[in-house]
């Protein structure tokens, strides 16, 4: 499945990325992507794919052009910089690479000469994990609170929903400033991750809760729910068996919408010193660099992370769709 195909490289980032995410090649800032060739300039076919080297552009300072004189063959399963696979097993094997001191930059380099492809793959680890877990947390809270509120209605509903409004109205930016001020200066990576997930997830529950409440409100008036109630079904049974399943559609759609949104929320939090800092990559920070005019106008390959994210998020959407269809076909 497409989704799995996209997630495996991210999970096994160290293996798929040819370089470490923080390795700076200071002679190659904003180097364009290396194109993979099979046929060289003389029309000769090579069974082993190769890339051309780069040289300084004689016309523009700081720009690079392809050096057709240097063909660099591509090797597979090469030994390179060490990393820990899935964060546990030390390894040096990389899926592909070129022999030192040449470099292959499938998606070009950023302003420090770091390989964008490696950063994209590594960045996905933290962004996707944070996005998915945070979306799950906020939907869980949302479903629970929205479900109770919609199901019981009346005073409970009023209390919970006004509480949600209050939550939405809070000046989060300032609260986050305050949270950051109470934390120590340097926060370890895994703590940052937990913090990110907690902050994003907890802030986000109020909106899905409203939606789910709406669905629950209409669901509990349906005839078969009323019938089940008439047969003496308990509240818990009704909620679990009849009401909540009807909200799955909303929950899945919300999930697909929230994950991309939360991947971007990480940018704001990083600005406040609550996100993953340099040199750790995240998709948010890769996208944030696109806000600058010079990047937009001069270095088209900086768009590649954004372009790659489109099929990924679409895949989420399709998956959610498929799941929904699947659930509908299962009799309640």
């Amino acid at each position: 499945m497409l989704l799995a195909g996209l997630h495996v490289p991210i999970l096994l980032a160290g293996f798929f990325a040819p370089y470490s995410f923080s390795e700076q090649n200071r002679d190659r800032p904003f180097a364009p992507p290396s194109r993979i060739h099979f046929v060289d300039a003389n029309g000769v076919f090579h069974a082993r794919p190769f890339v051309y080297g780069l040289k300084d552009d004689p016309n523009t300072i700081g720009a690079f052009v392809v050096d057709m004189q240097r063909t660099i063959p591509l090797h597979f399963f090469v030994r390179g910089s060490s990393y820990r696979l899935v964060g546990l097993f030390p390894a040096r094997m990389h899926l592909f690479g070129v022999s030192e001191p040449e470099r292959i930059y499938l998606m070009g380099t950023d302003g420090y000469g770091r390989d964008q492809f490696s950063r994209f793959v590594y960045g996905g680890q933290i962004s996707l994990a944070a996005g998915i877990v945070a979306a799950a947390i906020s939907l869980l809270f949302g479903a629970l609170i929205g479900g109770i509120s919609g199901f019981y209605g009346g005073g409970v509903d009023n209390l919970v929903m006004r509480g949600g409004d209050l939550f939405l109205a809070l000046p989060w930016l300032y609260l986050l400033f305050a949270v950051r001020a109470t934390l120590p200066l340097h926060v370890a990576q895994w703590q940052v991750f937990l913090l990110l997930v907690a902050v994003i997830g907890l802030i986000g529950w109020a909106r899905p809760a409203r939606l789910i409440r709406g669905v629950v409100l209409s669901a509990k008036e349906r005839d078969f729910v009323a019938a089940a109630r008439g047969f003496g079904a308990s509240d818990f049974y009704l909620l679990r068996r009849h009401v909540l399943p009807q909200t799955y559609g909303v929950v899945f759609t919300q999930m697909t919408l929230l994950i991309p949104q939360y991947v971007l929320a990480e940018v704001t939090l990083t600005f406040l010193g609550l996100g993953v800092g340099e040199p750790m990559p995240s998709w948010g920070s890769l996208l944030a660099s696109l806000q600058q005019y010079y990047v937009l106008s001069s270095y088209w390959w900086m768009f590649l992370p954004a372009v790659l994210l489109i099929p990924l998020f679409l895949a989420y959407f399709w998956t959610a769709d498929a799941l929904q269809e699947h659930l509908k076909s299962v009799p309640l």
Binding site: R26, G62, A181, G273, Y293
Partner: protein, 581 residues
Amino acid sequence: MGATGQYLSIACVFAALGALSVTAASRSRGAEDVLVTNDLLGHRGGTITIALRSEPKTINPVLATDTSSLGVIYCMGADLIHINRETQRTEPALAKSWNMSHDGRTYTLQLRRGIRFSDGQPFDADDVIFSFKVYLDEDTHSPQRDLLVVGGKPISVEKVDDYTVRFGLPQPYAAAERLFDGFPILPKHLLEASYKSGSITQAWSVSTPPGQFAGLGPFRLKEYVPGERIVLERNPYYWKRDSAGNQLPYVDGLTFLFVPSEDAQVIRFLSGETDILSRFSAENFAALERQQSAKGYRTYDLGPGLEYNFLFFNLNDLSSVNLPEIAKKQVWFRDLRFREAVSAAIDRDAIVRLIFQGRAAPLTSQVTPGNKLWVDSALPPALHSPDRARELLKSAGFSWKSDGSLVDQRGNAVEFSILTSSSNAQRAKMATIIQDDLNKLGMNVHVVSLDFGATVDRLLNTFDYEAAISGLADGDADPNTEMNVWLSTGGMHIWHINESHPATPWETELDRLMNEQLVTLNYAKRKQLYDRVQQIVAQQLPMICLVSPDILVGAKDRVGNFHPANLDPYVLWNIDSIYVN
């Protein structure tokens, strides 16, 4: 002299019209002390549009602190003695001449006669006395007041006659005439009433009706559209003439658009909405340079300005605050060899190349090459040698474990964080490069970027940081503006704030040198003293100076007499001579 000729011919025209008006016109105009500029001759007409990064908060010179307000006020006001931003030296403005007493404590200024405010009312010594009374009054809380306090006492102002004023300084003060730049003279006839009623701080907001405002600058207020623009028109009474006797300014109007981000300003400039683009980043420079001939504008790299960026370690006395972790690490930070090693490990050229696309200068000390009169050019460039850094660390008792990580004598891993403000993208990028340089030495360095307010709070109040990257930029090139940085009691003595007495022998020497240059009137002697200050900074590394970015500006080809300078206000400083083709 050309100016007088012009007035005679004007008078002749009047003579043909009627005898009565001739006497009136020639008397008032003949007595006018105009200033004649040497710029290229331009021609009258047209308007100039410039973007401001933010909306000016006020047009009241007594209150302004933000760059946007100061820029607008600069175009509408005039000071007694002005700093030429190109030569960085003082030149006559409203004072046509001045002299200093032998002890350096009294300045007598001769004012221009017969000149008028932009509302047509005459200017004389009473306006000067009134202005300085307002600036010096503690109740008005003018942010500039501190500049007029010398050796703890305010300067005194006294009227000698209608066109002569005398300023008394409590002690000899080097380059005192530079103080007058940035104090626009206020019209007594318009502001005295509000000053007396104690409401001068409410006077002259941006929404003031143009009729209630007057200044001595080349432009006066015409219109303010909240959130959009502020429009100025030429001051018909301005006191400068070009060498052909034409009254300045050349352009009829000046419009400031409020465009909040640099990228948006670049786009507006490219689309032709603005004529001049002031200060933009090196990345945008490359993009703009490529299109300049096609789009009819020019970009200018003026070389480094006065801003210096630096890395520094927390050397504050932490005994009164509870920060044991940081206090432990201060053992490293206080060791000169450690600071030298860090300085030697930093690849300043990479910072210049990667962050500024080569449009910045690596620094050894706090004085940038852009500060023509004061930079100690004999100082050798900062050394970049990771090998030397390792030697220094070894000699200071540090060693490396088998995995390459650095440990101190007691076996503690060398780990610290560098704090930067996330609102300054360039400093955050410097931190990323320095982090990589130091990690190669085996140090475990983290970059922590916080919002501006939180960063400042940690640096100046709570001292809860280990190392930080910051930058300072002065309005003026003179060493006096740096007093609060280098004196051990200074408020911006950023690596160790509020020292009760100098903590190190070299800080004692810095105190002595800075205090001595303040009262030394001879430039060559002052330069020697300040050279020594730069040497100490380069040797003792309380601040590890990094780079100074170039001042980058652009203007359309149709803008004439465009002479941008690397001192603030970079493109506006000669706005009275700028013309439009």
